[in-house]
């Protein structure tokens, strides 16, 4: 008799059974074609309403001569595209630097010559950059 579930346990069990049956039934509902159709149509309606709302707000903001969300997003997109290009340039520079380092370590004793010649190039580059900055400041 001690193993008999108490009344509370029986109620609890009944509730959990009901929950499981409801879960199973609801999963069947969401798997039906009718639910899929309902979801698709509802999405379409919500999108239509959202678009009307967005367009209206954007029109109001633009007519007030203020940058709207679309303008800010467009600017952000341009910045992101610039970042893409910078990343590509940076990768190119890094791979060239890696190649140069590999070349230097491969040449071993000839390294000092390579070093001095590369130093010369970089110093030239620095000169060019200095003259450019001078011309800018003037």
């Amino acid at each position: 008799m001690a193993d008999q579930p108490s009344q509370e346990e029986r109620v609890q069990q009944a509730l959990e059974d009901a929950e499981q049956r409801t879960a199973g039934a609801m999963e069947k509902v969401v798997q039906s074609n009718a639910f899929g159709e309902l979801l698709a149509r509802s999405t379409e309606n919500v999108m239509g309403l959202t678009r009307i709302g967005f367009d209206t707000f954007d029109l109001v903001v633009r007519n007030l001569r203020i940058a709207g969300r679309k303008d800010v997003a467009r600017l952000g997109t341009q910045l992101a595209r610039t970042e893409d290009k910078l990343e590509r340039v940076l990768q190119e520079v890094e791979s060239l630097r890696d190649e140069l380092n590999r070349e230097r370590s491969r040449n071993g004793s000839a390294g000092s010559r390579t070093k001095s010649s590369s130093n010369g190039r970089s110093s030239n580059g620095r000169k060019r950059s200095t003259s450019r900055s001078r011309s800018k400041s003037s």
């Binding site: 509370e8 879960a23 979801l39 999405t43 997003a73 600017l75 952000g76 910045l79 990768q91």
Partner: protein
């Protein structure tokens, strides 16, 4: 506990229950110390700090475009990252960030052909290695598979794909999305970045009673029955916070994902092209581990298994376990039941 005791305890339990729900946002997730290695647009590459790296080949974790990658590092004791670090791996994580309308032009090409290879490049530069292990979960797994298929010179030595959608025929998503009345272009044109909440709602609608009712009912039941509130809090809050944290899905990636994967099922048929290249899963030659979860309703096992026959890899392993899409890797049993098997598979494939 008899009925009278339960009634007497109800006000305290209700306060505790509400407190757990209302302070979920304060739960700490993703706390394992890490450093930023590289950033580009919204993407960030992290390297986890470790003093015991013994496995030469680093592991790069790649998560889906929906939800945040914190699930890899949910909380102390429930962190796959922590487990990998303890096993001696050099662990990196690519975080796609929180896209917004300015990222509307970001398509699958960006993730597969640019962001992922660039992150891999940075992993190799940071670790000083020439190869790595790519470990992708959900859409992250599909992105990794696409990358491996399209890039013959990929530095990925091993490919680990967790609950990854490959063949979408027959799934519930397909039933909802592959109908003329559902127009992903309309959604993508309306929002530059599809609100994460809408995708989360659709995910939850797949098992509505479980997601909208049972989770809360179980939490309440535990507290009402006298479960230690701290224990209940630690068990519930990190996962609930992660589930509710839904970044937007960039419009172009959304359009391409829904159309190519669910409406047209292109990947499995080899009809998907990125950057002008055909994504042929037969070109995947890495050592491959595929993990499926029996109770996964988001990427059901029949939708992943075709990959096993399609790939060109000679070294293919498949773990088919019980559990759900997320529960398999982040549930309370994951630490004992699946992580050790993944580490055991990785270990002989991670030597120099």
């Amino acid at each position: 506990m008899n009925v009278l005791e339960q009634v007497a305890r109800a006000p305290a339990a209700a306060t505790e229950f509400l407190n757990i729900l209302l302070t979920t946002e304060d739960a700490e997730v993703g706390t394992t110390p890490k450093d930023v290695v590289w950033t580009h647009r919204k993407t960030t590459l992290y390297r986890y700090r470790s003093t015991q790296r013994s496995q030469p080949i680093p592991v790069l974790l790649v998560f889906a475009l929906i939800n945040r990658p914190d699930i890899f590092d949910l909380s102390q004791g429930r962190s796959f990252v922590e487990y990998l670090l303890d096993e001696g791996y050099d662990v990196f994580l690519v975080d796609w960030g929180v896209p917004d309308e300015e990222d509307a032009d970001t398509g699958l090409e960006h993730f597969v052909c640019e962001a992922l290879p660039w992150a891999m490049r940075e992993v190799l530069r940071s670790s000083g290695e020439e190869e790595l292990t790519l470990l992708g979960w959900c859409i992250g797994g599909t992105l990794c598979a696409m990358h491996a298929a399209i890039e013959p010179d990929s530095p990925a030595r091993n490919l680990v794909l967790l609950t990854t959608p490959i063949d979408t025929d027959g799934g519930l998503y397909t039933k909802w999305l592959r109908r003329d009345t559902f127009d992903p272009d309309l959604v993508a044109d309306t929002y530059g970045a599809i609100p994460g909440g809408t995708i989360d709602f659709a995910n939850k609608m797949m098992k509505p009673v479980t997601n909208f009712w049972s989770t809360y009912r179980k939490l309440w039941h535990g507290i009402a029955q006298g479960q230690d509130p701290d224990k209940a809090r630690k068990a519930y809050q990190p996962m609930a916070k992660w589930v509710a944290d839904n970044p937007p899905f960039p419009a172009r990636a959304y359009r391409e994902w829904i159309t190519w994967m669910y409406k047209e099922n292109r990947l499995v048929d080899g009809r998907l092209r990125l950057n002008g290249k055909r994504v042929d899963l037969g070109d995947i030659e890495q050592s491959l581990l595929v993990v499926t979860a029996g109770a996964d309703h988001i990427a059901p096992p029949p939708g992943t298994r075709p990959l096993l026959d399609l790939v060109g890899s000679k070294d293919v392993t498949h773990f088919d376990r019980s559990g759900g899409h997320i529960g398999l890797m982040a549930g309370s049993k994951a630490r004992d039941e699946i992580w050790p098997d993944i580490a055991e598979w990785l270990e002989p494939r991670s030597d120099r």
